[in-house]
């Protein structure tokens, strides 16, 4: 059984080792001071995809990322780790997107890729920590979703069996394919870059990067189509200009403050409308939100 797997990935500032200059005065991230890395949980997702590929020859693993043109770096890295190739969705008009606009843009790109059996992504990115993009993509594509995945136990006959890591234990669920699975950081680490693959794919570049390559390398890249990382614009994925970038993002950042967590205890709510409504009312009342 061969499958077509799309792995959603994001290039993020490395917020794990932050120095003093990591934040700007206005409270936003100083991206220039932090190295750009492959979002850690997206690597967990990539590993799950590569395991499926190992077990099912003929399976393709395609990375999809939205970001600046330099996000091709993580696709190159993924190829060195075992992925087949990838696409960078990059366009000025996509900038400033919140999770709604991001998930719309990525969903459009997934539709254009088409013919997918499984969409994998990390649970959340370490720069935003929202964990919303994966689930929103599933909604927009009308697909089932499995979140907090720790292990893919089985994939066959049009369904997938996934072990989920939840707060109080694990849960095993079965979903039909195609579906969206977001992978937890407790899943196995991604395999390292492979030396031979590194040498094979080190010149894998996006079209905009290729323009800057020395002639000799341009020739090599021209001869080997697998070395081209596709770059798609908003127009390439037929994105509605009103639903992308700033116009498509209802989230408006009013201001950002440094918060030191002081809460000593947590409270558990039942998963029903009544409890949620009660909480929202309480938060409104004490001016936490609104």
């Amino acid at each position: 059984m061969s499958l077509n797997i799309v792995v959603l990935a994001k290039q993020v500032p490395d917020t794990r080792n932050v120095g003093k200059d990591a934040m700007k005065e206005d409270g936003t991230i100083n991206r220039a001071a932090l190295p750009a890395i492959f979002n850690p949980e997206d690597l967990n997702a990539l590993e799950q995809a590569l395991r499926i590929k190992d077990a099912n020859p003929g399976t393709t693993v395609t990375l999809l990322t939205m970001g600046l043109p330099r996000a091709s770096e993580i696709i190159r890295e993924a190829m060195m780790r075992g992925a087949d190739g990838g696409i960078v969705l990059t366009d000025r008009v996509l900038g400033g997107a919140d999770t709604l606009a991001t998930s719309y843009s990525l969903a459009q790109a997934v539709k254009k890729i088409g013919n997918y059996d499984l969409i994998l992504g990390g649970r959340q990115a370490i720069d935003g920590d929202t964990a919303q993009v994966g689930p929103q993509i599933a909604e927009k594509l009308g697909l089932p979703q499995v979140t907090y995945a720790e292990d893919i136990l089985e994939i066959s006959n049009g369904h997938i069996v996934v072990k989920r890591r939840l707060e109080n234990g694990v849960e095993t669920v079965k979903a039909p394919l195609p579906c969206v699975v977001t992978v937890n950081g407790s899943a196995p680490d991604c395999r390292p870059r492979n030396a031979m693959r590194l040498m094979r794919f080190k010149y894998a570049t996006s079209q905009s990067e290729q323009a800057k390559l020395p002639e000799q390398i341009k020739e090599i890249v021209a001869k080997r189509p697998e070395l081209t990382i596709r770059e798609w614009s908003a127009a390439d994925v037929d994105a509605d200009p009103e639903q992308i970038g700033m116009p498509g993002s209802p989230t408006k950042v009013k201001n950002i403050v440094n918060v030191v967590f002081t809460a000593k205890e947590s409270r558990r709510l039942d998963n029903d409308d009544e409890s949620l409504e009660g909480l929202v009312k309480e938060l409104l009342a004490n001016h936490t939100i609104g």
């Binding site: 395999r191 390292p192 870059r193 492979n194 030396a195 031979m196 693959r197 590194l198 040498m199 094979r200 080190k202 000799q216 090599i220 080997r224």
Partner: protein
């Protein structure tokens, strides 16, 4: 997470040595593989970029998982169940990681599944791995047994075994026996040829590193009735065939993750490698030279680790109101540690480059006949490699022990506790000056290069290189040391007695080593300002060491030899 390649700029300095251009061009046969393999380099810059990036993977894995696992591996160690070795969980994870990263069979040609790396970047990887986990470096580093198969086995054997090593199967070299340690001529493991021409092995091997490996190189007595090295042949034993069991593993002081096995061979089927009777005198000698360079790399990795642990502690630990690094006694120790580290590393890569050039010529000679100039060059570098290998193994391993000792000393009482890595480093260091030939045996291999003048010729070559003005004082000292060395060697030669030469051998070999390593650091400082301090510190160390030996030799009366006969 640290990257053990990126965080150590000295490595890039050595990788980018000017001689690499020649090495890579020879190794890549003018980049002809680029047409056949999509991962082969198209030119020198491309090849160097690949080495650099692959070493970055090595550094990443080592600075992360392998270093993190080292303490657990040291604690858990391997065990034996039903005649089979089970590695510590951390070791299993390390091996799997190295396999996935494709770091096995690095120096093997592409047609057999390897990366076709020269020895120099491969040795650099060994240096990095050893810093992370010295015992694990053994398991990983035994891949260079494949070199022996590549050099001496037939094409069919190469095709069957080398790709397996490149995919990550492990190797061992089964040489030592209870009564044949340093003296391998006494090997008794019996190889018997059956009527159909195939061979079986019977007997016992002891102290075999990674003795439950997938593919073994075995030294055995194929010629019945013989007693010396000329009756020994080399065999390949494939674990898939069965017949060799692990009777026990040793409980060692250090490198505890590396299983040291006692093996029993019961009619174990084996294949002859190359020609009968050449096992020890040709193949094991070649194997040992490669292994000695590997131990030298391992030693440098230990020195690096010992120095870094000490440096970090000295900066962190405050006594009498300031960090202890600010006390001159500690500061001096750290400077000397770094100088010994830099000196042994400089000699390590110089040796690796010599080995590279002559081995590549040997390989080219299998494809076409070499020109007279090429043959001359091959012989020249072969001789230099032969001279430098025991020097760097001998002195490099002693230095790493000294650094491991000083690392604990700088830690003070805390260093004596199990809480700090320096304690493990100290235990791991201890074997380096023993296995693959003790320091004393390295001296035996090196002394002829004192008496025949190889070292002096090397020194003269280095002396001919111009140096920056600010380094001239070092060179002036070295010229003086060379004169002392020559006087000492002449004085020993004048006695004209082998026993006397043997008695003075280590002193003379070390003098040569001190001067050679000083010159190498001088040349490093010439290329890179960062080495200036180490060049100075090591030269001062060399000055006192050479003077000590020179004085001992000058003031010695051969009649005093009897004083040193232990009873």
């Amino acid at each position: 997470m640290a990257n053990f390649y990126i965080d150590n700029p000295d490595l890039r300095h050595h990788l980018n040595h000017p001689l690499m251009q020649k090495i890579v061009e020879l190794k890549e046969r003018n980049y002809s593989d680029a047409a056949k393999y999509d991962y082969a380099p198209m030119d020198f810059a491309d090849a160097m970029d690949s080495y650099d990036k692959v070493l970055e993977i090595v550094g990443d894995i080592c600075g992360g998982t392998i270093a993190d696992n080292a303490e657990g591996v040291d604690h858990d160690g391997p065990k034996v169940e039903n005649g089979r070795v089970i590695y510590a969980p951390g070791t299993q994870e390390n091996l799997e990681l190295c396999r996935k990263a494709g770091l096995m069979g690095m120096a093997m040609p592409r047609r057999l599944g390897g990366l076709n790396f020269p020895i120099t970047p491969y040795i650099m990887a060994a240096d990095i791995v050893s810093r992370a986990d010295t015992g694990f470096e053994n398991l990983w580093g035994l891949q260079d047994c494949a070199e022996t198969i590549y050099e001496f086995a037939d094409e069919d054997q190469k095709q069957r075994y080398i790709p397996r090593v490149c995919k990550g199967e492990t190797m061992s070299m089964d040489l030592t026996e209870p009564d044949a340690g340093s003296d391998l001529q006494s090997v008794m493991l019996k190889a018997t040829q059956k009527p159909d021409g195939s061979w079986v092995l019977n007997g016992v091997k002891r102290f075999i590193t990674n003795g439950d490996s997938d593919i073994h190189l075995v030294l055995a007595r194929s010629e019945e009735g013989t007693r010396d090295g000329r009756g020994l042949s080399m065999f390949i034993y494939d674990k898939r065939n069965g017949g060799v069991d692990v009777r026990r593993i040793e409980n060692k002081m250090g490198i505890k993750g590396s299983p040291t096995c006692e093996l029993t061979y019961k009619n174990a089927p084996a294949e002859l490698v190359g020609s009968r009777r050449m096992g020890l005198i040709k193949y094991v000698m070649a194997l040992m030279n490669g292994a000695r360079l590997g131990i030298a790399a391992q030693s440098v990795g230990v020195s690096e680790r010992a120095y870094r642990e000490a440096l970090a502690y000295a900066k962190d630990r405050k006594q009498f109101g300031k960090a202890i690094i600010e006390f001159p006694a500690v500061s001096e120790m750290l400077s000397v540690m770094k100088a010994k580290l830099d000196a042994s590393r400089a000699l390590l890569y110089e040796t690796a480059r010599f080995v590279d050039i002559y081995k590549i010529y040997e390989d080219i000679a299998k494809e076409r006949s070499l020109s007279a100039d090429e043959r001359k060059e091959m012989k020249h570098y072969s001789k230099l490699a032969d001279a430098c290998t025991p020097l760097v193994k001998g002195m490099g391993s002693e230095y790493c022990n000294q650094n491991a000792y000083d690392s604990i000393q700088i830690h003070g009482g805390s260093g004596f506790m199990k809480d700090y890595a320096c304690e493990r480093v100290y235990r791991d260091a201890r074997i380096t000056s023993i296995y693959e030939g003790t320091t004393q045996l390295q001296v035996v291999a090196a002394i002829r290069h004192v008496t025949t003048g190889t070292y002096l010729a090397m020194i003269r070559d280095y002396e001919a290189q111009p140096v920056r003005e600010d380094l001239q004082w070092i060179k002036d000292i070295l010229i003086g040391l060379t004169a002392q060395y020559e006087t000492a060697v002449a004085a020993v030669a004048a006695v004209n007695d082998t026993a006397y030469t043997d008695f003075m051998a280590r002193r003379m070999v070390e003098m040569a080593g001190n001067i050679i390593m000083s010159y190498l650091l001088l040349s490093d400082a010439e290329r890179n300002q960062d080495f200036t301090r180490s060049a100075g510190v090591y030269c001062k160390l060399a000055q006192s060491e050479v003077a000590r030996h020179a004085e001992f030799i000058a003031a010695f009366n051969p009649s005093q030899l009897d004083l040193y006969k232990a009873e």
